[in-house]
Amino acid sequence: MRRSLASQLVAGILVNSVYEMKNYPINLVNTVLSPLSFLVVIDFVSRGALIGQAIEGGLIMSMFQSGMSLQGDISHLKNDFKLQDMLVSSPASPAAYVVGMAASEIIYTLPALAILVILGAIYIHPGAVQALELTGALLLMFLTSITIGFMFATLSSDIVQSFAWSRLLSTIFTAITPVYYPITYIPLPFRYLAYLSPTTYAAEIMQNAAGSLQLSAGAVATDWAVLGGLTAILLVVVSRNARWKEV
């Protein structure tokens, strides 16, 4: 039998976004509100001075949350419905499953992204090159968060534990780290701690591209190299260590 890869991808989107959204629209509201609420607070507190960073932060948070949501959703489907067990004993490929589920998370994020992109066009108005830089950084951020999310999901055996990890990682990587504000606000030597987070590199690239942070070409190149390298390493680690089937 000839098996359709497209169907396998669409199945994940149907189960994890289309059908779920239809029956639990509150999830969509939650996905939209989280990054926007941070944006509003930062904008009020800075009296509009940090609106650019807040929009970039919102974009990073949306992307990172996709990975964390993936973690919770895969874990929920695996542990509570035994879906992964059903798919392991079938011709479905793990890659098609993960990519389909990741795509479903993007669909959930689309409304928030659309609002943030419109706000970005109004307040940041980037040129074509800057827009490409922003898109590239967000794409790497998405891949990083998806790999982290999938890794945690396959290792988790309890949905409560999984949701706790999801919230913890989201807070550490998108609220505490300098995503919604410039890294220069953090006093030395604590600033170096921020570089332990991949979101810091994405934020620096985006803030530099939007003109709210001035970095040397070398520093920007380093940010790209670290973010790209980290994403590549995570992809390799996950493809080797994530558990599709039990051993």
Partner: protein, 314 residues
Amino acid sequence: MGELVTEGLSKVYAGARGARALDSVSFKAPSSGIFALIGRNGAGKTTLVRILATELAPTTGSASINGIDVVREDKRLREMIAIVPQESRTISWMSPKQSALTYLMWRGFGYSEAKKRAEESLARLNLSKYADTLNRSLSGGTKRKALAAMVLASEAEIIFLDEPTTGLDPISRKDFWVILRELARDRFIFLTTHYLEEAEQLADTLGVLGEGRLVAVGSAPSIRGRIRYQYSLKLPANSPVPSVSHGEVTTGKNGEVQILTDEQEAFAISRKVSDSGGRFSIGPVSLDDIFFQLVGESTMAEEAAPGAEGGWSA
């Protein structure tokens, strides 16, 4: 005709569980009709199913279905298998039709074909009227049927069902048997159960698993044929055991005593026990008695004490 073959199959879980779940399981059985694996909770049924369904790697040994090795050729085998795992549930925010449709799409069917098959499968199981009802609104039995509809809709030739009727009421369970027979018409069904009646009613081949070891395999009549005596008398734990002139006396792990003997001797012993004020149950040998003799435990031990077996108690 194909075969299911296991050779020295063992599984020891690593880490905190550290338990030997399967201990050198070797058997051959035809890969057609229904194979029912019987055993108490924790006997290793799920472990064996998960290994055969390529979900779990064995620690040692090998297994193959129709000549396809479950470890080395797992991808090839996955082309032809489907499973409804123990404790699997239908996804609450979807309907039975959406569940079957997306399961088929994950198996690689195009949308139109998957939709057609999903609708046909639901119709075969009399679920058409629930096709668009959310799973969370369905009864337990209907949810189980919806899970069966998912695998029935697929092209899988080999279907694993891990305790498919656990938790169902007796009527739903018997309805489900009809579905299983339907499934087994053109496919190989490997199911686990701790209901002996179910195994005896449904299975072409039975396997009896006790503490990770396969203690018997064969058809129900052939397993019955292992028992020389046709009457069973059971005494509660700590009861004085009367002398038995001919028969087999087995003391179970909970102290319960089973005496297998012929009709005349069984009634003679029961009179002795009754005269001394003891409690007992007596009846023709059932598959549960055979299980007790093989494994040293009753499959029903948690649910019914000796002497509580309706109609035969004295």
